[in-house]
């Protein structure tokens, strides 16, 4: 396990945490400050189908249309600051020189223009796609067919040296086992996949990303467990969905926090990725700025904590929207309006010194909407963070502690009749508690068992993790 683990919580109490304030504010890009007393909107997008075909059409889409539209609307509405996020598509990581470089350069140029003319504070995050295939190999030299880890590292360099202000990734270590486990409601497998393997993969990956960022004097943002906990959350869905019990998704989220933290232990400094709903837990431990998404990311997916998750954000994001026209302008302009106004609301509450009241209203709106919202409420998130810190020294043990704490918090509230659970949610919770409590208290024992238990999982290759 990485040596730079957090010895204690960044905040001395849960109540100290609030949106727009980070223990380690960052200043980067064209005059942007993050976590320094106000919340900034972070706008994300996807190009229209077909525009990925040539570098020219992709540049036109990303630069001339999307980036320009976004800046125009920010000026129109008077938003003082904005962060843009470009989540790279496969073509950009597959051929960085041809597809990625001109986009990165073009976006920065146009931002510079608007910054010069209007003084708008802005910055851009480039999120490199993680194209690695578990069956081919995650580490350097393994995938001779696609040479993916190599291409991916090259994509980071191209972004970092051509205009990115922040670099991030949604890394996929441990996903092959988590995918197998999530559809079987197997919390032990999930813990092994994300809590253990995922952390090992990040420990390998992140020092490299931090190096590239530092060399180029830009910010190594952070990671997200999109590949694991978001898949679970997405499948658990809402009250019409029946794929995965929401109690299961909630516990995976807590486990994910222990893994996502590794980026910071390897030198990342935040802001972490918007889609990492584990953000509140990670922020409680690390104090780094956090990007979050909810109500204003309905274009991308409907979650059960649209308001709550704003509680401790420093950037407020729309996750992603495909570029297309709407009555109110282009889609990116419309969604920028939604998230930009929400940021303004949070900032206004600071002017009125009511930010904690607003935070609490956010929480009250969704605290009991789903078990996952419940465990991410900042008071509970803080407790889960404590469980992680107290169990430092073993990726396995701290992830297990996080999951168990989450399950116990849910059980307690449900027993008190506060958080209501459906029959399926209750059943799943009981099994999770049983399963997690049955696990060994030594990492070695657990790993030995898991290596055997999951040996036949398709695409699982222990060599990917030097096991």
């Amino acid at each position: 396990m990485s040596v730079n683990e957090f010895k204690k919580m960044a905040y001395s109490s849960a109540d100290e945490m609030v949106f727009g304030e980070s223990k380690h504010p960052k200043h980067y890009g064209l005059g942007l400050k993050v976590g320094a007393g106000f919340v900034v909107p972070e706008i994300n997008f996807a190009p229209r189908p077909g525009t990925e075909k040539t570098p020219e059409s992709l540049v036109r889409e990303y630069v001339d249309y999307i980036t320009k539209d976004v800046l125009e609307r920010a000026i129109t509405l008077g938003f003082p600051a904005i962060q843009i996020e470009n989540e790279h598509i496969f073509q950009m990581v597959n051929d960085p020189e041809k597809f990625e470089k001109p986009v990165v350069i073009g976006q920065k140029e146009i931002m510079q223009e608007y910054h010069d003319e209007y003084g708008i504070a802005c910055a851009i995050r480039h999120t490199i796609a993680d194209p690695r295939l578990h069956e081919e190999g995650l580490r350097l030299g393994m995938d001779t067919k696609h040479t993916y880890p190599e291409k991916m590292m090259r994509a980071f360099e191209v972004a970092a040296s051509n205009g990115a202000d922040v670099i991030s990734i949604e890394s996929v270590g441990g996903k092959e086992v988590a995918d197998h486990a999530v559809v079987r409601q197997d919390i032990k497998g999930w813990l092994f996949g994300i809590g253990y393997l995922g952390s090992l993969d990040m420990e390998w990956l992140w020092p490299q990303i931090v190096d590239i960022a530092n060399k180029n004097n830009i910010v190594p943002g952070g990671d997200t467990n999109c590949a694991g906990a978001n898949t679970a959350m997405f499948m658990a869905g809402g009250y019409m969905d029946r794929d995965i019990p929401r109690t299961f998704a909630a516990v995976t989220r807590a486990i994910a926090a222990a893994r996502t933290l590794v980026a910071y232990e390897c030198g990342a400094t935040g802001p972490d990725k918007d889609c990492g709903y584990e953000g509140p837990i990670v922020k409680a431990i690390s104090g780094f700025p956090s990007s979050q998404e909810g109500k204003g990311a309905q274009c991308a997916h409907c979650d059960m904590m649209g308001n709550l998750i704003a509680q401790t954000c420093d950037l407020w994001s729309n996750e992603s929207v495909e570029y297309h026209p709407e009555f109110g302008g282009s889609s990116v302009q419309c969604w920028l309006g939604v998230i930009g106004y929400e940021a303004a609301l949070m900032n206004a509450s600071k002017q009125l010194k009511s930010e904690k009241t607003l935070r609490d209203i956010y929480v009250a709106s969704d605290r009991f909407r789903s078990p996952e919202a419940f465990i991410l409420s900042f008071d509970n998130a803080y407790k889960i963070g404590q469980a992680i810190v107290e169990n430092n020294g073993s990726y396995y043990l701290r992830a297990k502690a996080a999951g168990l704490k989450a399950a116990e918090l849910i059980e307690e509230s449900s027993n008190e009749g506060k958080l209501k659970l459906s029959a399926q949610e209750k059943d799943a919770l009981d099994r999770i508690l049983l399963d997690l409590r049955s696990l060994p208290s030594e990492e070695g024992k657990f790993v030995d068992w898991a290596l055997k238990e999951y040996a036949d999982v398709p695409a699982f290759n222990p060599k990917n993790y030097e096991l």
């Binding site: 496969f90 999530v182 029946r242 695409a459």
Partner: protein, 261 residues
């Protein structure tokens, strides 16, 4: 700090999932599918109840009095039919299907050993996720449901190059080929596959699914047949088995899914 637990959430949200919790008993629904014969019934129940620990024992027992085909068709698959119906009705969650299928797999393996050779499945399905696309959970779920319905699945994985799919399908001539794309920037692989297959003279129905595509898109190129949910897979593939070509399946799509065809 505020005492959140004193907040009443009644004005804020309604737990419709609890309101709509099925009053139907799973047992009653399962009963229709379970075989009468007590030994085969045990096998089917092992599938239904995800008993992958006892299933091998019970299958071995059943194989004493039954030919392996019957153990599969009248035992294992019947249990799986019950699970499928419970899932489709929203009474069981997905993991139940997956773990039941795992149990069934163990049983089938034993039965096939007894058979001395791989059993004749209903047909082969070649599956993949589009070139450049790492999203494969939906495909994996669909694979399980197809296997549970008696088909054999050749899963080419994710991020599969267009030409690899074309070559494999041209070579093996499966009953159906499927593709999954969750990204609007990868889905254009599907029309390219379809066109190349036609050039090779292959007219295999090509089921396309995943969050990025919709029916209109999939029907804009030859061979394409849209699937919305993993549960649609068996219905559509059954029609291919009945000898329908892709045009007919596409034409009768609404009817197939609503069960009227």
């Amino acid at each position: 700090m505020l005492d959140f637990d004193n907040i009443s959430s009644d004005a804020l949200l309604t737990r419709y999932d609890i309101i709509a919790e099925s009053k139907e008993k799973p047992e009653t629904i399962a009963e229709k599918h379970l075989p009468k014969d007590p030994i085969l019934r045990k096998v089917a129940e092992d599938v239904l109840h995800m008993k992958y620990k006892t299933i091998e024992e019970n299958v071995s027992a059943a194989l004493k009095d039954n030919i392996p085909e019957d153990v599969i068709e009248k035992g294992l698959l019947k249990g799986m039919d019950a699970v499928s119906e419970l899932y489709n009705r929203g009474i069981y969650y997905l993991p139940h299907v997956m773990v039941s299928a795992d149990a069934m797999d163990r049983g089938i393996k034993l039965a096939e050993e007894a058979l001395g050779a791989g059993r004749r499945t209903k047909g082969e399905i070649i599956m993949h996720a589009a070139e450049g696309d790492p999203h494969d959970i939906g495909k994996n779920i669909a694979a399980v449901l197809l296997k549970s319905n008696g088909y054999s699945v050749l899963d080419m994985g994710k991020d599969v190059a267009v030409d690899d799919v074309v070559d494999k399908v041209t070579e093996r001539k499966p009953l159906v080929v499927t593709g999954t794309a969750l990204m609007t920037t990868t889905m254009s692989a599907f029309p390219r596959i379809a066109e190349k297959l036609q050039i090779n003279g292959v007219e295999t129905p090509f089921i396309c699914a995943g969050g990025a595509v919709n029916r209109e898109y999939v029907e804009s190129y030859p061979l394409g047949i849209y699937a919305d949910k993993a549960a649609n897979g068996p219905n559509l593939v059954n029609k291919a088995l009945d000898g329908w070509d892709w045009k007919k399946i596409r034409d009768k799509w609404d009817g197939i899914l609503s069960g009227s065809e």
